[in-house]
Symmetry: C2
């Protein structure tokens, strides 16, 4: 493929044959997958890396721990509902939680662009501290680098998390079986549209705030309700719900059928997406997850989510099928079906 | 203090009263310490963070593990003897080794500036793989972000390492007692001068190559020779030997007396420093460490270092004393004494 569709605009960006990195390689879509497959995996071979989960399960002495790392480059640094510091804590804590681990410790690495106001830095570090406290994790070590003005963009933050793995509870992208029901724990697309609005100074009819949150307690509620029977969990950040489901569909070799009418898309998100030519299924989220559960547990799982403050907007949105493995399709209210593929590149760059 | 000396140039940069981050805040000197103390520690309180070691010792189940994180922003990306990938692996592995831990796993986070050539990226990732293989560590998970052209500088890499702590061997910056002997495991100043030469296109009489290396085997040799009796270890990267010794001197509340004539400074480093007005004691190293050992073990320790390929240039360079705690002084060949303070800011920015 050498010509593709990004958002609703036809765009002649080839997925392959780049000799330089383009923005789309950071999108969480097809270009990101190609970058990983062509430029990292051939060199950095390890069993853990090949799992391609949200993190890696490794042995440390007698303990099994989960490590996850994420770098945050969101622009702007501060936005309604949070800032880069909140995201940097919640994002990595959530990656651990999606693997069934109990988040314990974070390390943090800052790259500061010369000229960043200490006022801003202080607010962001205070946000990190609050988010870490809410999540029950400790920031145990860190590093700071400063680069010249024009060689960075205010502040980039890496967080790496260590969590304790639990042998009784290890949802995995390759754990889904046909028949499993797809749940989403809350409204779709809010974080991405909030960032875009803040960045571009857009005003929509309703005020949006990022949904950034620590999802570990919600995962635990789901876990208890299903007696550990959660097949797969993923927080649909970069690349949105569509990319998360495509990855799970490929890893588990199942098809996924979504019901468009069941998707919890707030009117403000739907309106903004329509105006901007975006598809909410590809817009980043920071406070919800998709979960796959066996069909007989779908109702109790949905109840458990809805009874938790972070899961009030949970919905059953689809089902895994044995047909078309590796492919996600969506049934429209009018009875049609369309393929929900991964995008090659970005709808919205630097969203987290 | 509001006016200070940087390198050999009198410079009116105040250490305090900044309202914005300046390059010196990333120097590993006084400004870095002030940044940490004033802007990070007040918010991010944890016992581990307050230790201010090269990493943090934490419990994971029944295991005691060490976590260390470091972000690499070296410019240029490639230089004689290595590249940012080699540094990113060895730097974090060495931080674990300095705490007495056995390095096991690395996570890696890339921030790529749009436009980076894949040819360059591939060479750097291959370097990381080679360095990880030599160090015996596995890269287990990673993350990639891409920022727009002009919002980064080619490539920044964060690595976070997990090592197994050893209750029999835990050298620590606060473990030094008066009388302990100061050793350095090899020549001083090579990495920093190599980077500066590559960056500025300078040519010196001798070709220099970065000394970047995994120091864990050398630490183990020292450990075996001293039956675990190493009081403190530190790799003098940013800020050089002078900053590392000042930190240990402060943490252990001892004075340190260096013998200038004993410092292993290669002629090429000395010549370049003289020409450029730099002090080699503040120039970054990536392939040596300073070690404090009890006086009765100093000779066997030095022999053990010199018998290892990475420690051939080891020297006994000084001693810890009960006088002037927190202060490092140097005896010159002519019998004089001068204070070796920490610098406020940078001699050489973006050296690692």
């Amino acid at each position: 493929m050498t010509a593709t569709i990004i958002g609703s605009v036809s765009c002649p960006i080839p997925v392959t044959d780049h000799d330089r990195v383009v923005l789309g390689h950071g999108s969480g879509g097809k270009l990101s997958a190609a970058l990983l497959k062509q430029h990292f995996l051939p060199h950095l071979q390890s069993d853990a890396l090949r799992q391609l989960g949200d993190g890696a399960v490794v042995s440390a002495g007698n303990a099994r721990v989960v490590l996850s790392t994420d770098t945050f480059v969101v622009n702007p640094l501060e936005f309604p509902g949070g800032d880069i510091g909140t995201l940097a804590v919640n994002g990595t804590v959530n990656d651990l939680a999606m693997m069934g681990a109990t988040p314990c410790y974070l390390t943090v690495g800052f790259i500061i662009e010369e000229g960043l106001a200490f006022e801003t830095l202080d607010r962001i570090v205070a946000s990190m501290a609050r988010a870490a406290s809410v999540a029950g994790v400790q920031v145990v070590t860190g590093d700071t680098k400063v680069v010249e003005h024009g060689k960075g963009d205010g502040l980039f933050i890496n967080t790496t998390g260590l969590g304790l793995a639990d042998s009784d509870f290890s949802p995995s992208p390759d754990g889904v079986r046909p028949g499993d029901v797809v749940l989403v724990s809350g409204a779709i697309g809010i974080h991405g549209i909030t960032i875009l609005s803040a960045r571009e100074g857009l005003e929509f009819e309703a005020d949006l705030e990022s949904d950034t949150a620590c999802l570990h307690p919600l995962v635990q509620a789901l876990r208890r309700a299903t007696d550990n029977s959660v097949a797969a969990l993923r927080d649909p950040t970069r690349g949105g719900v569509a990319s998360a489901l495509n990855e799970i569909s490929a890893a588990s070799r199942v098809g996924i059928v979504l019901e468009e009418s069941a998707l919890p898309i707030p009117a403000a998100v739907a309106g903004a997406c329509e105006m901007l030519g975006l598809d909410p299924l590809y817009v980043a989220n920071e406070g919800n997850f998709v979960a796959f559960v066996p069909p007989h547990l779908a109702d109790v799982a949905l109840d458990a989510l809805r009874n938790h403050p972070l899961g009030r907007g949970a919905q059953r949105i689809g089902v895994a099928v044995s047909d078309h493995p590796g492919m996600v399709v969506m049934r429209t209210p009018l009875g049609g079906t369309r393929i929900v593929d991964m995008l090659p590149g970005d709808q919205l760059p630097r969203i987290c």
